[in-house]
Structures are given as structure tokens and as C-alpha cells.
């Protein structure tokens, strides 16, 4: 069977000169650790997004033209709605696999961002963002924030009550940009909220073409950079060094594994799309600017912003009768920009603080970089607590914890808890290092004792400790 590939291989090389590249790529080495696969999970989620997205784009009508519904879902019969919302109702009710593909698409979006975050945490806590991989890190951050925007646009296109409220908030946050907010938002929306009909075309073309192209290009560059520098590795044995990479070759070792992972990701996403309902827009109803529902939330990856918007005390910053900084700016713009800034500048911050300008191809175990790990845990806790407050009203309903009490507790807690966690984590890392050392010494001592016992057994005297 394998004999028959000689002809195709010759065919390809004669026409493309690709044999040297293929030969080299086939034996490209992948350091083998499960946590190095998280980026691939994000990549495969992206592929599912593209595939399901193409299907949805064949049925979705990006039009705000008003229509009256007379379809199979009776609670909306006679209801006025946009053509966009109606087309999503049709996808959900009138096309056989439409709901499955829609739900898989939405779960894939949630999982795409979650896997990028997991991957980011792995890269951060193992120090894999250090030289020479700073550019890869920056591109990853741009990918993450672009994914936020892409998801937001995707679920806002549906024009349901929940996402419509979210779009109004996006408008308000855009307006809150000092000085330029008004012109910027009028440019994007074409008119004050809810904007001109053509705004829907803009969202649509951004979501199905412009941003996917950007994401695909950035992913391509990201992967090319990873391959050009080769992946980092843990120092598992003495063979793993800064200069020698140890790993599994792409072919035949890694290829079936990566393919298996792809099918697992796709399978899990379709199982979610079939078994767990997501965004049942027929229950929310169509959006109108004068309607609101309690408990409206953005998708999880924007939850940190609603938490920040709710936590901020009430004030606009004014100069005379000009409003320089409207309130939503703090939680909606400054907060995410600050997080992005800290993450983006971190490779250079760490380089400055540690005075370490070396190339690093070895990944740290988190315990071996106590200050970085502690900072990461503290920063993550800060963002996470702000994110958690976004659900405080639901916690009140479920557990009776007063919203107002939570507000004050969180306003203080988001500063105290990360500070405490910083010191605790650092101590923990040092403790783990000490335990490792003790275990290593113990192991060495055991080996020495074994050697002596063996020596005694053969009648040879040992010279003592």
C-alpha cells in the first residue's frame, strides 16, 4: 500500500519543490505535555466556528426591516420583529439541523474564548512568553480581545431582547470615550441608537468576513512563529536543555494525536450543541429599545465588564459643563485596556525586574517562578472577583445575599483578596520547591543507601558517608 504513494509524492515535488519542506515538517518535534495542547483546542474550536458559521450565513438575513411573525412558534405569533431575528427563529424552528448548528456555533464561541484563556494561563505560568516568544504572546493577546469582539458581534446580530440590551450598553460605553466617543459611535452606528439599518450590515460583514480574516491571519502568524522558534519544553531530563529540544515528531507520532484531539473537540462541541440549550432567543423575544428584562447578561467572556460597570460608584468627570469622562468609561474601557496593557507589557516588565535578557526555551514549572506565579494568581483573582460581582443579583435571588452588602464587600475584597493571595501563593511556591528538594535529597540518600547495601551484600566494604 505504501508503495503507491511514491507516484503522488513525485508528482507534488516535481511541481511544487515541496519535498524538502515536507521532509523537514514531517519530523518537526513536539515536546510532549498535555498542557501544550490547549492552544490546539482553541484552534479546533475556531474551525468548528468557521464550519458552522458558513452554514448559518447561508440562512441568516442581516436586515433590520420590520416583519410580522406567523411561524411555528405560537407565543410570537403576530409579533413585530426584525428580519434578522425572524431568520434566526426560522433557523431554530424550520430547518432540520438549524438549531443544532446554531447551538454548536454558540457553544464553540464560548469554548473558543475559554480555551484561549486556559492556553494564556498555561503560557503565562510556565513563562513561555519570554524571549524569543514575546511577539507570539502579543499576537495571542490580540487574538483574545478580537475573539471577545467577534463573539459580541455574533450574538448581537440576532437582535433578541438580551443581546439588544447589550448592544445599547456597547453604544453607551462607546459614547463614554472622552471627547471622541460621540463621533466614533455615530460613525459606527450611522445615527444615534439604535442606529441606521446599515449598521446591521456593518456588524454582519465584520462578523462573517473582516474579523474571521483577521483571526485566521493572526492564527497563521501565531502558529508560524511557534513553529519557527519551536515549542518550549519542561526540563524533564538532562537531555532537555535550552539548546536541544526533545519531542515527538509530527509524523507518525503527533499527527494522529492532534487529529484525535480535533475530533474530540468537535465531538464535544456537537454534543453540547445537541444536549444543552444555549441562547433560546424565542424565549427572550425581539428587542425594542424601550424594553428590558431582569437578569440580562452578556456572554461569559464579557462578564468581567458588567461586573466592573456595576461595581463603579456613580460619578461623571466634568470640566465646566463638558463631560470629560462619563461613568461607563471606567468599567467598560479603562478596565479592559488596563488588563490588556498589563498582560501585553508583562514580558518586558518581567525582563526589567529580573534583569533576565536570556533566550528561554525551557518552560518553568510555576513553583520555580514564585513571584511571577504569585502575581499571576493575584491578577487573575482581581479580574475574577470583578467578574463574579456581575452575577451578584442572581446570587441574591438564589442565596439571599443582599446585593448592597455584596457591593460593599466586593469593592473592598477585590483589592484585599489578591494581595493576600499574592503572599500566600509565593509562600506556597517556595514550600513546593523545598518539598521537591527534600524529596530529591531523600531520593538521592535512598539511592546511596541502596548502593551501600548492595556493596555490603557482595562483601565489598564501603568507605562510609
Amino acid at each position: 500500500m505504501t508503495e503507491h504513494i511514491e507516484d503522488p509524492v513525485r508528482f507534488i515535488d516535481e511541481r511544487t519543490s515541496a519535498a524538502p519542506l515536507l521532509r523537514k515538517s514531517m519530523r518537526y518535534l513536539f515536546p510532549d505535555h498535555w498542557s501544550f495542547l490547549l492552544g490546539e483546542v482553541a484552534l479546533y474550536s475556531f474551525i468548528v466556528l468557521i464550519a458552522t458559521g458558513v452554514y448559518l450565513a447561508l440562512f441568516f438575513d442581516p436586515s433590520t426591516a420590520k416583519t410580522v411573525y406567523h411561524g411555528p412558534y405560537t407565543p410570537l405569533d403576530g409579533q413585530q420583529m426584525s428580519a434578522a431575528y425572524k431568520s434566526v427563529l426560522d433557523i431554530s424552528f424550520s430547518y432540520k439541523a438549524g438549531l443544532l448548528i446554531r447551538q454548536t456555533h454558540h457553544w464553540a464561541a464560548d469554548v473558543f474564548v475559554a480555551s484561549i484563556v486556559m492556553h494564556l494561563m498555561r503560557v503565562f505560568f510556565t513563562g513561555a512568553f519570554r524571549k524569543p516568544r514575546e511577539l507570539t504572546w502579543l499576537i495571542g493577546l490580540v487574538l483574545l480581545f478580537t475573539a471577545f469582539l467577534e463573539g459580541y458581534l455574533g450574538y448581537s446580530l440576532v437582535d433578541d431582547l438580551l443581546s439588544g440590551m447589550g448592544l445599547a450598553i456597547g453604544y453607551g460605553v462607546g459614547l463614554s470615550l472622552p471627547v471622541i466617543g460621540g463621533p466614533l459611535v455615530l460613525a459606527i452606528f450611522g445615527a444615534p441608537f439604535p442606529g441606521k439599518g446599515v449598521f446591521w450590515s456593518r456588524m454582519y460583514i465584520a462578523h462573517v468576513f473582516l474579523i474571521p480574516m483577521l483571526l485566521a491571519t493572526l492564527i497563521g502568524v501565531h502558529l508560524a512563529l511557534v513553529m519557527a522558534r519551536h515549542h518550549t519544553q519542561f526540563k524533564e531530563t538532562s537531555r532537555h536543555t535550552q539548546r536541544r529540544i526533545v519531542g515527538v515528531p509530527l509524523f507518525p507520532g503527533q499527527a494522529p494525536r492532534s487529529l484525535a484531539l480535533m475530533f474530540f473537540v468537535v465531538g464535544i462541541l456537537f454534543l453540547l450543541g445537541g444536549l444543552i440549550q444555549i441562547n433560546p432567543i424565542w424565549q427572550w423575544g425581539p428587542f425594542e429599545p424601550w424594553l428590558g428584562t431582569n437578569g440580562a447578561q452578556p456572554d461569559w467572556y464579557l462578564g468581567w465588564l458588567i461586573g466592573a460597570l456595576r461595581l463603579m460608584p456613580s460619578f461623571d468627570v466634568t470640566i465646566g459643563h463638558y463631560t470629560l469622562i462619563p461613568n461607563p468609561f471606567w468599567g467598560g474601557i479603562l478596565f479592559p485596556l488596563f488588563v490588556l496593557g498589563v498582560l501585553a507589557s508583562f514580558p518586558w516588565l518581567e525582563r526589567k525586574l529580573t534583569r533576565d535578557h536570556e533566550v528561554h526555551n525551557l518552560a518553568d514549572r510555576p513553583r520555580h517562578a514564585p513571584s511571577r506565579t504569585a502575581f499571576g494568581v493575584a491578577f487573575l483573582a482581581w479580574v475574577f472577583l470583578i467578574f463574579a460581582f456581575g452575577a451578584a443579583d442572581r446570587l441574591f435571588v438564589l442565596f439571599g445575599l443582599s446585593y448592597n452588602t455584596q457591593l460593599y464587600v466586593f469593592r473592598i475584597g477585590i483589592w484585599i483578596v489578591p494581595a493576600v493571595l499574592f503572599f500566600v501563593t509565593r509562600r506556597l511556591c517556595h514550600g513546593l520547591q523545598a518539598a521537591d528538594l527534600a524529596e530529591a535529597r531523600h531520593g538521592a540518600a535512598l539511592a546511596e543507601a541502596e548502593r551501600r547495601r548492595a556493596a555490603v551484600g557482595t562483601g565489598l566494604e564501603s568507605r562510609g558517608p
Binding site: 432540520k96 447551538q103 450611522g190 539548546r243 529540544i245 507518525p252 454534543l271 429599545p289 456613580s314
Partner: protein
């Protein structure tokens, strides 16, 4: 007999070449395999027929699930098709393919652990690149002039390129942000277009109202209307006659980020319970109708704009002017007086 020989001849003609090629290839194969056996590129491993059987079985199950998807799709109508079943068929199919590939990876392919060099920087080539660029400039005497001219042109071209973006919306003129359909005399109507009569506004509840004949969806259109005890109102002096009979109208669009102020808190026993308030469900900005919309909780930075009301001869509510302040989330000019003609 002749026919038979002709058939054999044709068969040999058609397939003989292939048979000869096969024999030649078989000989080459044997030679190659002998060479490879001495020094293979890929590490060799022992056969595992059990794993092969497992892979076939897993792929078989995956195929059954995939066909199951087709069957379910065909059997049911759009109204009754069970989403769970479709998802299970497709999802399990992919999971079993993944499982088969995992068996291939772990047991049918040798997991080699190889070494290679991490790529290093290439100082020699870096130097050559710099040299190439430098040497290419042998005919240039005023590099900075040329570069400056190029940069200026790039700037101008860039400006030209983004100029069409000015047509995206009324960028220079943010006046549209302030426009509302409300003027003195515009009648209040409900979502069905029926006028709101003053006597029809009961205390203890809230109404959503719109300007008659205008686009309900505009941010300056929707109102929330309540009736309070006029003796308890604490409106600013300039709004003393804005609430006939204690009926108050406010913009329904929250001044924080633009959601609809869709909650009304009405105490049954005001002695103990919190006082009436208009609340926004997005970030819980809370506005006090008694004082004309002041913020009493939550992150909104500006009070809710109030619309002056009057009662016409037919007893219907009409606007007595434009809002007390500009409507919607804040922007640079939001604190200027609202434009009204």
C-alpha cells in the same frame, strides 16, 4: 480457440505492461526494504493486531452514528426533530473517530522521542541583510530627504484612504445625539398609538409612552410615566408645573449606558418600605421620581431627564416642552441644555 488466443493477446496487451511494471517495482521494493532495515528513519515497532481490530471497531461505530444522523434527519419533520438525537449522533461519531485515532497514536504508531536543535539567531545573515540594504543605497545622496518625502506622501495617502470613513455617520456634527421627537404640544401615546389620558394614569403603576407620530425606536422617544402624590413632590423650582396632578414623565433610557429603565418600585407601606423609584435592570441605576429623576443608587452619573407635561382640552397628556436635560448615556456635550425649537 482463436477467439481465446485473441482474448489472451488483448489482455496481455492491456494489462501486461502493468504486470511488468509491478514486477519491476517489487524488485525495487525488496532492495529498498533491505536498505531501510539496516538504518530506518522512523523507529520500528511490533505489530498489534488487537489494536488494529479495535480501531476498525471504533470507526465502525463512528460510521453507524454518522448514518444515524442521516436517518434521524430524514425521518423527522422540522417541527418534531429531536435536537438531542441529532447532536448525539454527530457528537458521538466524532468522539469515536477521535477514539480510533487515539488508539492509532498510542498503539499503532511508534511514539518516538527524538532530539533536535532549538533554532538560534543568525548573526551572519543578519549582517548580510543590513549590508545588502546599505550597499543598495550607493546612488542615494540625500536619504533623509527621500525618506521624509516618502513619509509625507504616505501620510497624505493615508489621509485620503480614511477620508471616506467620514461618510459612515455624522461624525463632525454630534447634534443628532441630542435630537428627540418631543416638542411642546406633542401628544403622549401608548405602544399601540392610543393617546394617554391624564385620568387614565393611575397611581402605583408605571406606563410606557411615546410621541405621537414619531419613531418609537429612537432613543429620545420612549417615556416612563408615573403618578405620585403632588404634595410630596420635591421638584426643582424651574419644574414646578411640569407634573399636572402629580403625573411625571421621564426618558425611559438610562443615563448610564442606555438600557430601558423598565422597573418601577412602588411601596405598599411607605412607612417602612423603600420609596418609589425607577430602576434600570442592567447595572441597577436607581432614580428618584419625587426629585425629578435624581440618582439614588447605582453607577449612573446623571439624573434621568424629565419631560414637562400638560393636559390638553380633551384630557390627554401632551409634552409641554423638551426634556430637562439631554437624553441617553453621557457624552462630551451631554450636559449642555437640550436643543429645542
Amino acid at each position: 480457440m482463436r477467439v481465446w488466443r485473441w482474448l489472451v493477446a488483448i489482455a496481455t496487451f492491456l494489462f501486461g505492461r502493468r504486470v511488468r511494471q509491478e514486477r519491476k517495482r517489487a524488485k525495487q521494493r525488496e532492495k529498498r526494504q533491505e536498505a531501510e532495515a539496516k538504518d530506518p528513519i522512523v523507529a520500528q515497532g511490533s505489530p498489534e493486531r488487537g489494536a488494529e481490530n479495535l480501531v476498525v471497531a471504533l470507526l465502525g461505530i463512528a460510521s453507524l452514528f454518522a448514518l444515524g444522523f442521516v436517518v434521524v434527519y430524514a425521518l423527522f419533520s422540522p417541527a418534531g426533530i429531536p435536537n438531542e438525537l441529532l447532536g448525539i449522533c454527530l457528537g458521538m461519531c466524532f468522539l469515536f473517530v477521535g477514539g480510533a485515532l487515539t488508539v492509532v497514536a498510542k498503539r499503532l504508531v511508534v511514539t518516538e522521542e527524538l532530539e533536535d536543535d532549538y533554532p538560534e539567531a543568525h548573526p551572519g545573515q543578519q549582517k548580510e541583510i543590513v549590508e545588502i540594504v546599505r550597499e543598495s543605497g550607493s546612488r542615494i545622496t540625500r536619504k533623509r530627504l527621500l525618506l521624509g518625502a516618502g513619509a509625507a506622501t504616505a501620510g497624505a495617502v493615508g489621509l485620503a484612504a480614511i477620508t471616506p470613513a467620514l461618510s459612515l455617520g455624522p461624525i463632525w456634527d454630534t447634534a443628532p445625539l441630542d435630537q428627540t421627537p418631543w416638542r411642546r404640544g406633542v401628544r403622549l401615546v401608548d405602544e399601540d398609538g392610543n393617546p394617554l389620558s391624564a385620568n387614565g394614569v393611575a397611581a402605583g403603576t408605571f406606563y410606557t409612552a411615546f410621541p405621537e407620530g414619531a419613531n418609537n425606536e429612537e432613543i429620545g422617544s420612549s417615556l416612563i410615566v408615573v403618578r405620585l402624590d403632588p404634595s410630596k413632590l420635591k421638584l426643582p423650582a424651574s419644574r414646578a408645573n411640569w407634573a399636572p396632578g402629580g403625573i411625571l414623565a421621564f426618558s425611559k433610557i438610562c443615563t448610564h449606558a442606555g438600557c430601558a429603565v423598565a422597573l418601577y418600585r412602588k411601596p405598599t407601606f411607605p412607612v417602612i418600605e423603600p420609596k418609589p423609584a425607577l430602576v434600570c435592570p442592567c447595572h441597577y441605576s436607581t432614580f428618584d421620581p419625587y426629585t425629578g429623576g435624581d440618582v439614588i443608587y447605582g453607577p449612573a452619573g446623571r439624573p434621568l431627564p424629565q419631560l414637562p407635561l400638560m393636559v390638553d382640552d380633551a384630557g390627554d397628556l401632551r409634552a409641554a416642552g423638551n426634556f430637562s436635560a439631554r437624553v441617553g448615556p453621557s457624552w462630551w456635550n451631554v450636559r449642555e441644555a437640550p436643543t429645542s425649537e
